[in-house]
Point group: C2
Chain length 259, copies 2
């Protein structure tokens, strides 16, 4: 009899362990109770695909970042909401630069890690919940591929409306995305087709995260082309004003609040 994993704070638990490995403080994952093992984030897709990826990068300092992360933080102005702040790598750099930044995440464990690493202004909420707080921002960051949080056609409009409710005049969204359609790998191209056959966007991934005995519920995470993004932004309070393709298939999309 195979038991389903428990639903829990996967991301928080794995960041806590990744911090313990990085700092040498606190219990660390061991193989057979003795040999250190790296913290691996496991991502399942609803077609049976599974991938593991080392979690250490969530704690990386700017010297290890990809070039698009640097270009993204160089574009911020005013007060910043870092959405899906995770272990706080982006917020920490902004704080160093004396940029006012709020880190937003739904994972209590991730917020605890970000706090221990020195991020000062942290909020546990979804963007919809935080939109009711009365806080206002000039820049919304969706880095670490977090453009995916717009999920799909229906949710994208709600998500962008929540950001607009927190936006000062002239506000911008800087979002990191990946164009999924350059691949010829049949594992991915057939998944894109399966999604389209069901009325979904090709790269509308249905995922869950797993770590040790924990899993998240299944959730949508959107990997879309800049053209698809343009379509999703159309009719919202935002305009797509720039797509930086210097590191294609990764890109940085900039949205500006319509006047």
């Amino acid at each position: 009899m195979v038991t389903e994993p428990r639903i829990g704070d996967v991301f928080g638990e794995l960041l806590r362990d990744a911090l313990a490995v990085a700092t040498g403080v606190g219990p660390r994952p061991l193989a057979g109770g003795r040999l250190p093992r790296p913290v691996i984030e496991i991502i399942e897709r609803d077609d049976g695909l599974i991938n593991g990826a080392p979690a250490a990068h969530y704690l990386d300092g700017p010297e290890s970042w990809q070039p698009y992360d640097h270009r993204a933080v160089d574009r911020v102005r005013g007060e910043v909401l870092d959405i899906g702040a995770g272990a706080g790598r982006i917020a920490l750099l902004l704080q160093e630069r004396s940029v006012p930044v709020t880190g937003l995440d739904i994972s209590p464990g991730a917020l605890a890690v970000a706090r221990r690493r020195g991020v000062r202004d942290l909020v546990r909420a979804t963007v919809d919940e935080h939109a009711g707080s009365g806080r206002r921002y000039d820049t919304f960051l969706l880095l670490g591929n977090n453009l995916g949080l717009i999920e799909g056609r229906h949710r994208a409009a709600q998500f962008l409306a929540a950001l607009a409710a927190m936006a000062r005049p002239g506000a911008q969204v800087i979002a990191h995305g990946t164009d999924p359609y350059g691949t010829s790998d049949p594992v991915h191209t057939s998944y894109h087709q399966r999604n389209r056959d069901r009325g979904r966007l090709g790269g509308q991934l249905r995922l869950r995260l797993r770590y040790r005995d924990l899993a998240t519920g299944w959730f949508d995470y959107l990997v879309c082309s800049p053209e698809e993004l343009a379509g999703l932004v159309h009719g919202t309070p935002w305009r797509l004003v720039d797509v930086d393709l210097a590191d294609a298939p990764y890109y940085l999309a900039t949205l500006r609040l319509a006047e």
Copy 2:
């Protein structure tokens, strides 16, 4: 709708990709079609636990081995059967030392990788199948925790009988195991209890391996204490003559064919 993964040669596929990463030859796994990603072996346990571990170690040369692996290969004599030979790291060292060695594995992909790395004598079979070949050996190696292949009470007797059928007089088995009972981690202690409640040995793991879109079927893999091993060997053609505990909780068990 969540689809179950396809059953396939998980271990072979991941070793093929690990070899491509190590040598730079052949298609390598990429994130988003561009950034290299390490090959991660994913192991699911039937209680919902999941772990990812980098696969690169399967190709490690002796300079990166754990000390017990060195002590194990220093104990071989005569003709050697390397059971669960994988990518061939043990067989390659023995060949260098001019020790006659056969690599046995059930994974076609693993055998292809071992062949490309230079292992000369390779057989695709279970120990039961190979026992019918007429080949005879002086040393049977179960390294890389492959003592686990004895599975549990019932299979252990069959497995050891198959080895005895291939054994020359005075033959030995050198097996690497891990004592699972030193941990106080409730994820593991409660699993051991769940197994015992079902009449299984505490560390009788029920596992499947996953890599990308592939999974193995569920199989038993035994992690047992030296005391449990002694009980399993009792009544077989073998005697447990030595347990090397220098790297506890890992150990090397030596069995000798009874006269």
